[in-house]
Symmetry: C2
Subunit: 418 residues, 2 copies
């Protein structure tokens, strides 16, 4: 089989281990010089492909590839951009012009459910055009909502950060218990799913008196009166109550706890559930209230990576290249759990097209019957995903994430009038 | 000199290294059995003294004392309670009744400026009553605003967490730069001072293009138009702008920057400075906006301690006991900087009464002339305080902070009708 070039691109929100997947994919591609010539990375995702902003990763030596694997945020950049289906094929045409201009025969696309959809559509488009492209996805999202994989790289590290944060904040607030009663609310990401919220339950280590005492997830409609009664019961018993709130919790009528807003691209921006809940408690029950919104901190915490997550991010990056070389297009490597004690996993293959635009929610068995906490089964599922620590180099008391030169490939096409 | 017992108590907000001071004070007291009999810790600070809730620390063996030193939050609890001066001496009388009932000859009080004030007043009261008490303070606050010490234990670890968070969030948001421009705002603690906000400047490592691009501190009155112009300038150049906002920033008229929004019922809700600034930018400049509020996470992050901070927390705990044994009451051990490269420090003695109810603000030389960032001098001052890491035991992917039994001493007095 002839040699062709490989292009790697990120899509959507970045994670603490997204570069680990990139590093492993680049490393795997380099290991097959008889099949893969140059290894390019798109600058800022699919928009960078359109703009012909391609980076030649040859500049990353082995040491740099290793450092890359440990750096949070996307070194090559990312973007939120869905391939349009109503533009008469204009975007798709441009993508294939860029692929052709740079001899791309393999496209490795790192993202969430929407990006797996794109993987399927790119494969279809290649077949229609008779262009020899193998397109493979790499699963990634802190939200853990990709269908077809037991877990998603990025989730374990965010989960570890949030569980640690709840553990530590819980110890803090417990120190300060007074007569009046106090509540602490931490709002976490997860969009329409409660995986990250559920992860904070690991902080309690099975102790019903330890934080978090309430975990609100989007999978359970928010019942204000039942919730307030539970907060009151806990605060009267312990003097305080620590609560995790998923950003996407909804009332029984489906409305978000805080109004949603849309950015100009139409993406819904969620937020405000944590402060809304904290204020509600303060107004209704009179307790002292604090709230934390870790926001990007939870998906960027490279100083406190899950070793399991980092290893899985590397594995799916590597596997995506191997799948492409084995002629598997339109798919992505999925993580399969094959044992719980000890935790064991392997890489399987999942059809990318089949999962388009779905979301994997918490199963009912992971949510407590009253909808105010998660179950031991949820903890059992998440526990292995946050295990293990990864040593980071430090300099001056901060993680030393290094700096990476990104040499752009000379453009060969007219500018894209995006 | 006769043997008497030592009582240790926390006051005010806890920190990630407050127990390190406790551990070191207990260890130092144990080392002088000819002078110190039992070593008690008050449960929940001075309110615990009033309630006669005393813990006998003899149950902490050497291993437990070591684990104690590494656990965030106050194991013995704390409270916010200022000694009243208008109660006809009722509270002071009760404190001395408790001291007398339990043979307390040494009182070691860990806290901020207000607690140092209390140390002075307790010493005065002892002299007036002819009660043999040596009262010594232990400086502690993440706000770093205690007068008379070069820095405050607790600050370094919070500063390290926040600088790391800004570094990591900055890498995240830089990955996602798009055409529209985006801002990230992180609100940090510090009350009326900008020390913690200034610490985040270390994340940039001297690179003017790196986050944070703007640092707002209470020492510089907030100039909305100048601020927005700077945010626009930076965002037009880089595509994004990362901003640190101290919780206590104020307008030129002295008013706090608070978010004012209306809930669905039309009630005005007050929020923090961070969300107010983020929304201001969104409304005035139209940028995509995210904000993070680490809240308790920043003062409880035991998984990412500053080794310097931990060492200094131990040193002041130990020194307080030594000062008391040397007959120095009404004072506290202060940290003196005696060298910058390499950083060297020693413990001095500071008069507790002299600093009552003051706050140490950022010096003018630490704030940039335009009030929108801090200077290299501020970074030079803070840098050594975040240096070094402390290994924490982990279990199941989380810090293993252990559990501590707190055996209460049998009460000898009538209940306190607080």
């Amino acid at each position: 089989m002839a040699q062709s070039n490989l292009l790697y691109a990120h899509s959507g929100g970045v994670t603490a281990v997204i570069n680990a997947s990139a590093s492993a994919a680049i490393g795997a591609a380099r290991g097959r010089p008889e099949r893969i010539g140059k290894v390019f990375a798109a600058h800022r995702g699919i928009l960078g492909v359109l703009a012909e902003d391609l980076i030649d990763t040859a500049c990353f030596d082995e040491a740099a590839l290793y450092r890359l694997s440990l750096r949070p945020g996307g070194v090559f950049g990312s973007c939120r951009f869905d391939l349009p289906s109503d533009d008469g094929g204009r975007v798709m045409d441009r993508l294939f012009e860029v692929f052709a201009a740079h001899g791309i025969g393999y496209f490795v696309y790192n993202g969430g459910n929407g990006s797996m959809d794109a993987v399927g559509r790119l494969g279809d488009a290649a077949r229609e055009r008779g262009y020899p492209l193998l397109c493979v996805g790499v699963p990634k999202t802190v939200d853990n909502d990709i269908v077809g994989t037991d877990c998603c790289p990025g989730f374990g590290s965010a989960a570890k950060f949030l569980a640690t944060s709840m553990l530590e904040a819980g110890l803090d607030i417990r120190s300060m218990v007074g007569k009046r009663g106090s509540v602490f609310v931490m709002e976490v990401m997860g969009r329409n799913t409660g995986w990250l919220a559920a992860a904070t339950a690991l902080a309690a280590g099975g102790d019903p008196d330890a934080a978090p005492h309430v975990v609100l997830v989007p999978e359970a409609p928010f019942d204000e009166e039942a919730f307030l009664a539970e907060v009151r019961r806990i605060t009267e018993r312990l003097g305080y109550c620590a609560i995790t709130v998923a950003e996407g919790i909804r009332r029984p009528d489906g409305g978000l706890i805080m109004e949603k807003s849309r950015d100009p691209c139409g993406y819904i921006q969620l937020g405000g559930a944590g402060s809304a809940i904290a204020r509600m408690i303060h107004e209704r029950l009179g307790y002292k209230h604090h709230w934390a919104i870790p926001d990007y901190l939870q998906r960027a915490a490279g100083h406190w990576l899950s070793a399991t997550d980092h290893e899985q991010a590397m594995a799916v990056g590597r596997a995506a290249v191997e799948l492409a070389l084995d002629g598997h297009g339109g798919c992505f490597p999925a993580i399969r759990r094959i044992g719980d004690a000890p935790y064991r996993w392997e890489i399987g293959i999942e059809d990318a097209a089949g999962i388009a635009n779905l979301e994997r929610a918490l199963p009912a068995a992971f949510v407590r019957a009253d909808g105010l906490h998660v179950t031991a089964a949820a903890c059992d599922y998440i526990r292995p995903l946050i295990e293990g620590e990864v040593a980071q180099a430090t300099a001056g008391g901060l993680p030393d994430y290094g700096r990476f030169a990104l040499p752009f490939v000379t453009r060969r096409l007219p500018a894209w009038e995006g």
